[in-house]
């Protein structure tokens, strides 16, 4: 990547695929190519088959749920109606999930951008220590946080409240965001800031007016990854709520009840699973290249 100063498109998502591959395997013998295609096929089936089964199961009629053919015959949306049956409180749970995950994402990004900038750009003693420390906290076991906080929140009356879901979720979302953002900020050429500062900016202004706009794609990617993590959260929501009004969707879906009582209503559960997954999948598919860059940013490139 050339470090052309002031060429914003250069600083977007880091390149994930060098073009040299094209030449690499063009001269492969035929059987190798077929082996490769077979391998790709296996990967696709491996990743997609279970998901496909969820979708198909959700589109059967509830009475056909144990069918094993590959297409629903006849297709039906009854499971989706059942998922939103009043007893399941799924609509409310979806709202809670959106609200909690959204708030966590916004709060975390505001805080993380500041810290990530400091860790990526400023020179000060103990920088690596601070970064290691923040990353280390992301590995803190959820249960070790949930148990003392449950006692605390019981004492101060926070059980069944949004803040009891949002605040603990920052424990994993914040380090994650800092980690990815540091990697993104490090990729941006330092000359940009220096140029801005020669033009009379303070470092803070250089950050606000030059770095931040250019880092927007990285920030956006981080937002998606943090949102996915917060959306998937389970143990906090399970511990801190016992009323449906505050349950998030991941918890609510485990409390689905069937018409007959003891049976697990797999049809409507699969439908709810599809509803919980599809918005994320759409985002992921649209921004897949960016997301891959973000996910690998901390681990591989920085």
């Amino acid at each position: 990547m050339s470090r052309t100063v002031g060429a914003p498109q250069q600083v977007q998502a880091p390149p994930t695929r060098p073009s040299r591959r094209k030449a690499a395997s063009a001269d492969q013998p035929g059987w190798r190519k077929w082996l490769l295609y077979a391998g790709i096929g296996v990967i696709l089936i491996y990743c997609l088959a279970p998901f496909y089964w969820m979708v198909v199961s959700s589109l059967r009629r509830p009475s056909d749920v144990f069918q094993t053919n590959l297409l629903p015959q006849p297709p039906s949306l009854q499971n989706y109606k059942d998922a939103f049956a009043p007893a399941n409180h799924f609509g409310r749970a979806l709202f809670n999930s959106v609200f909690v995950a959204g708030t966590v994402t916004v709060l975390v990004l505001i805080i993380a951008i500041l810290s990530a900038y400091a860790l990526a750009r400023l020179k000060f003693r103990g920088k690596n220590l601070a970064l290691s420390f923040i990353i280390a906290t992301s590995m803190f076991p959820g249960i070790a946080m949930v148990i003392p906080l449950f006692s605390l929140f019981t004492d101060i009356g926070w059980i069944n409240s949004y803040q009891a879901l949002i605040l603990p979720a920052m424990s994993f979302a914040l380090p994650l965001a800092v980690w990815i953002l540091v990697a993104f900020f490090r990729q941006m050429p330092a000359e940009l800031e220096q140029a801005a500062m020669i033009d009379g900016c303070t470092q803070g202004q250089a950050f606000r007016k030059v770095i931040l706009p250019l880092a927007a794609p990285g920030v956006f990617t981080t937002a998606i990854i943090v949102f996915v993590a917060a959306w998937n959260e389970y143990i906090i929501a399970l511990t801190m709520t016992n009323k449906f009004e505050y349950r998030t969707a991941t918890v609510a879906v485990t409390f689905f009840t069937g018409a007959t009582g003891r049976d697990i209503p797999f049809g409507s559960i699969m439908a709810a699973g599809v509803i919980l997954t599809v918005p994320l999948l759409i985002m992921v598919l649209i921004f897949q290249r960016r997301i891959v860059a973000g996910l690998t940013a901390g681990g591989v490139k920085s």
Binding site: M1, G6, R17, P18, R21, A24, L36, G39, I40, I43, L44, Y46, C47, P50, W53, M54, S57, L114, S115, A118, L119, L122, K123, F124, K127, N128, S132, I135, M139, F140, P141, G142, I143, A144, M145, I147, P148, L149, L174, V178, R186, I198, T202, Q203, Q205, Y234, I235, T250, T254, I269, L280, L281, V284, Q288, L295, T296, G298, G299, K301, S302
Partner: protein, 336 residues
């Protein structure tokens, strides 16, 4: 860049563009303080409160209306010594064994599958977008949903039994429940490892392979002598994070198989159930022990294998001179 109209409060910019060390430090402290504050609240406080709580015993009395009678007593290390004796000890060690077993087996399988996936993806010419998109599908599915999905697949009348034409009660208990958890976990996270390894593979310059080919190296030799050492840093970080993630495994066995099943009870589940039963002291003790276990494993991993989590080595690697891109340790600051 647009010229910047300095607001009146801003100090005039006559100082040199390189700010002094002192200024940078003050700015850094200011920028880091919100993060430190939040983490102190949601990580620091639980560590201290958890240790304290683990030294107390709450009265287990529940009054007729279902409320817990307050009665906290200092019991010293009793909650910990219980781990080494009696029924509670047996249950803890079973959970400890399960946690370790899941971690070792899952991560081992995931690394093998993940590396294989990455090697295939790296060779793929067409359909890269499709592969990448499908690899992100398991990642994007919430763990709870995937647990429910696999519970459905492994239902007694489900598709898994239909395919292998057996009547296995997967989600009841025993080895089959363990297998179900391992399969479900592997499905969700092996592609993720594949993704990280692929990113590591893609920064290996092709010339290295060509040189090896000229020297007569076989494909396997190339894999061992070039690919593996060069993706090692990326792989190590991925493996470390997968290990630490699996040590705290909760959602998957809890939802896929259910609470109170000894064959899949992890330390997290045990602590959660104890907390639910208002046995807060032991619950906190188990959580503290899990925390220490995680710290120990992470420390050993970083010290013994040198996993470079923060990319500090890469920072320090000097930028190579132009055109000189040989076999130096991967310095990923400079993507080609």
């Amino acid at each position: 860049m647009a010229t910047i109209e300095a607001p009146p409060t801003t100090p005039p910019a006559q100082e040199a563009p390189k700010r002094s060390i002192e200024d940078q430090r003050r700015l850094a402290a200011g920028l880091l303080s919100p993060t430190v504050l939040v983490l102190a609240l949601v990580i620091g406080y639980p560590i201290i409160a958890g240790i304290r709580q683990s030294l107390f015993s709450t009265s287990q009395e529940v009054d007729p209306s279902g409320f817990v009678i307050e009665g906290e007593q200092f019991v010293g290390l009793d909650n910990y010594t219980a781990v080494f004796s009696g029924e509670a000890g047996e249950r803890f060690w079973n959970a400890f064994y399960n946690t370790t077993f899941f971690t070792v087996v899952c991560v081992a399988i995931e690394v093998v599958i993940g590396v294989a996936m990455a090697l295939i993806m790296n060779k793929a010419l067409r359909g890269k977008g499709l592969i990448r998109a499908s690899i992100l599908v398991p990642w994007a599915i919430p763990t709870v949903v995937s647990a429910l999905l696999w519970r459905w697949i492994f239902d007694a009348n489900g598709i898994a039994n239909a395919i292998i034409n057996q009547q296995i009660l997967w989600s009841t208990d025993g080895w089959q429940a363990k297998a179900a958890v391992i399969i479900a976990d592997t499905w969700k996270t092996a592609p993720f490892i594949g993704l990280l390894v692929l990113a590591g593979l893609q920064v290996i310059p092709n010339e290295v392979y060509e040189a090896a080919k000229i020297d007569g190296a076989t494909a396997f030799q190339q894999f061992r002598a070039i690919t593996l050492p060069l993706v090692r840093p990326a792989l190590l970080v991925a493996v470390l994070f997968r290990i630490l993630d699996n040590l705290r495994m909760f959602d998957l066995p809890y939802v896929l198989v259910g609470p109170g099943k000894p064959s899949v009870e992890t330390i997290s589940i045990l602590a959660f159930l104890e907390n639910n039963n208002t046995r807060f002291g032991p619950a906190a003790a188990y959580a503290v022990l899990l925390f220490l276990y995680v710290v120990l494993v992470a420390y050993a991993f970083v010290k013994l294998l040198g996993a470079d989590v923060i990319g500090e080595a890469r920072e320090k690697t000097p930028k190579p001179a132009k055109g000189q891109r040989g076999l130096r340790p991967i310095a990923r600051g400079d993507t080609p």
